[in-house]
Symmetry: C2
Subunit: 376 residues, 2 copies
């Protein structure tokens, strides 16, 4: 009677030994498995209630990843994107009431031609996902300001408990001074309702010299955003230049300093703006990195698979080629653990799966979705 | 009594579903598993008798891959390489009598400074692998001719039953006419003994106007080579320009035509050399590709895991991002199957494992070793 068990155990060993590579961490050895591969520059991941995933490919495709890792054909209905430089299809998130309304939000660099110039601006759309296709695709926000030629789109979306949406936007690299101008959307985090209208309690509502969608400003290239699971507040990460990546907790109407103050320097080594890192009227980050790691997607960890890591903030790193875990005490960062550098992967997004594992996407022409779980 | 079995089966399902992605092929669905990852631009793979593998990283590191996928520290003793452009540490193979003599051969772009210019030339070394380190490292061949600034090193090694070694070499891209000159080693396949001396039956031995190491000439950038398992003959693949990749069976003393004849055109669309694809005194490939696929490492398949594929020739493709299977009838190519394009990986090398599976290495900053086996 024991042989079938032994057989099953042997099968288990046989089919999984090829994946036995493990990686050190403060929570014990980590097993990293490839959930899906061959994804062209994946940018963002969103879990569907049935355990499947949505994944964006930066060149402009949205796909569904089956539980066995098979990729669907690209879903019809994604608007044309400006797939130049860092631009293309970026974040995707499910509406809080997705189970009822099947609504998703996604953002992208939208191609715009002005005179003889074509460039990109960030846009956000909503759509209904039914029978594995997109219906009722509607652009609910279009950025105003100078075009990007491929740099610094930002482009993370998060939704708060009141259903409002935050969208982070970069300053297009070539237009850094725009981040201080309230008359445009570059270098800003905006807050809108799910229908694209402006919440009446936004900080600049009613002012003639400011865009009403603006929540906070003075941002450089914010590519990570998440809602704190206890306080409900927005947290974001952004790329500094040579040094000066930041974690901020953006408050309404506040100025986060770019390109006036910064903990880094320009790529050529010259000082940024004032040459100072602090200035009255401008906010300080709760954490900064020198040298830069290029933080990307981020996620608060509240699940049970890694009990030691409950309450941590995870962020991927592109240039840093790693997963970073920040330990927190309220709104203070108390520690940093650098993980999975051995993979040498540019980590573009981090999400916590329904199973409590961490899911990463790798920014690569042959990108993958990786599952990170305790090695057992 | 059934519950332990069910539990084991459930465990099996749980721990392996993440790897269930399969790919279509003429031999049924293929399962592709990641054996090791985080390898920086791996170039070549060689199985050790104990089931471990040697892997080269183009920047200049040789590592041992344990059966569980763990990478060793870089082995001491690898000479400094010219890690510029396509250059660096390239192929590695075991001596036919490795079990007795622990000898390996590897080739690399060697940095050379002449006056104010530093560039690279292909070199081949032998060493003894003992206790996971290299001893008695000795360069047994150094290419003569103009320096490379990073292009077209070729660099595959194969050993024949008489222990002689073939080494393929490119024409450095900037020195294409050298491929027709017998006074230097660019664009040549050479044949030497394991101690670096010249076999007396080499075709140009005794001629004043030719290098005695030369076996065949007129090659562009030969990056794949293997010995036919039945005939014992050398087969090679090489990169054409825009179109014109080739499979050849190089005969001693013969001219393979580059840059005089070619099935492709220059990258700017202009004709190559004579503008013709055939010419008296120059050999024809047994297969050519237009457009180019950029063929890399190759292997004849003689194992039993894929009975249908016995006798096939496999080659990786870089630009083509796939594994190519050629069906053969003697020395004729009768068919071509294109596999695993869904992975979007630049396949740099293909080897057949002791288990009969195909092992691929992916040319990527976060490169992997992949095992390809029937999905069961």
């Amino acid at each position: 009677m024991r042989s079938p068990i032994v057989l099953a155990a042997a099968l288990l060993a046989l089919s999984c030994t090829a994946h036995a590579q493990t990686y050190k961490s403060s929570a014990g050895p980590l097993a990293v498995t490839t959930v899906a591969s061959g994804i062209v520059h994946p940018w963002a991941l969103a879990f569907l209630p049935d355990g499947r995933m949505l994944v964006t490919e930066r060149p402009g495709r949205l796909r569904i990843v089956a539980k066995d890792g098979q990729l669907s054909a690209p879903l019809d209905g994604v608007p044309k994107v400006f797939a130049v430089g860092q631009g293309g299809l970026h974040d995707v998130v499910l509406d809080r009431n997705f189970a009822q309304n099947k609504t998703i939000y996604f953002c992208f660099a939208e191609p715009v031609t002005e005179g003889e110039t074509t460039g990109g601006r960030t846009a956000m759309a909503r759509a209904t996902l039914s029978d594995d296709k997109l219906d009722d695709v509607r652009v609910i926000f279009r950025q105003e300001g100078p075009l990007s030629n491929g740099g610094h789109f930002g482009c993370r979306i998060v939704q708060t408990a009141d259903n409002n949406l935050f969208l982070t936007m970069g300053e297009h690299f070539i237009s850094r001074d725009e981040a201080q101008k309230l008359t445009g959307h570059l270098g800003k985090i905006i807050r809108i309702k799910p229908d694209g209208s402006v919440p009446s309690d936004n900080p600049f509502v009613g002012r003639d010299d400011a865009k009403p969608e603006i929540w906070s400003y003075g941002h450089r290239n914010p590519q990570g955003a998440a809602i704190h699971p206890v306080t409900g507040k927005l947290w974001e990460t952004e790329h500094g230049p040579k040094g000066g990546d930041e974690v901020n907790i953006p408050q309404p109407g506040k100025n986060y300093g770019w390109p006036v103050i910064c903990y880094g320097v320009n790529y050529d080594g010259t000082p940024v703006g004032s040459g100072k890192a602090e200035m009255p009227g401008m906010e300080q980050p709760i954490k900064y990195w020198v040298p830069s790691i290029a933080p990307s997607g981020m996620a608060f960890y509240q699940a049970n698979l890694f009990p030691k890591w409950k309450g941590s903030l995870f962020t991927g790193a592109l240039v840093g080629e790693m997963l970073v875990r920040l330990t927190l005490n309220g709104e203070k960062v108390t520690g940093e653990e650098r993980l999975l550098h051995e993979l040498h992967e540019r980590i573009r997004d981090v999400r916590v799966g329904p199973d409590g594992a961490l899911y990463l996407v790798t920014d690569n022409q042959a990108g993958r979705i990786l599952r990170v779980a305790p090695a057992k």
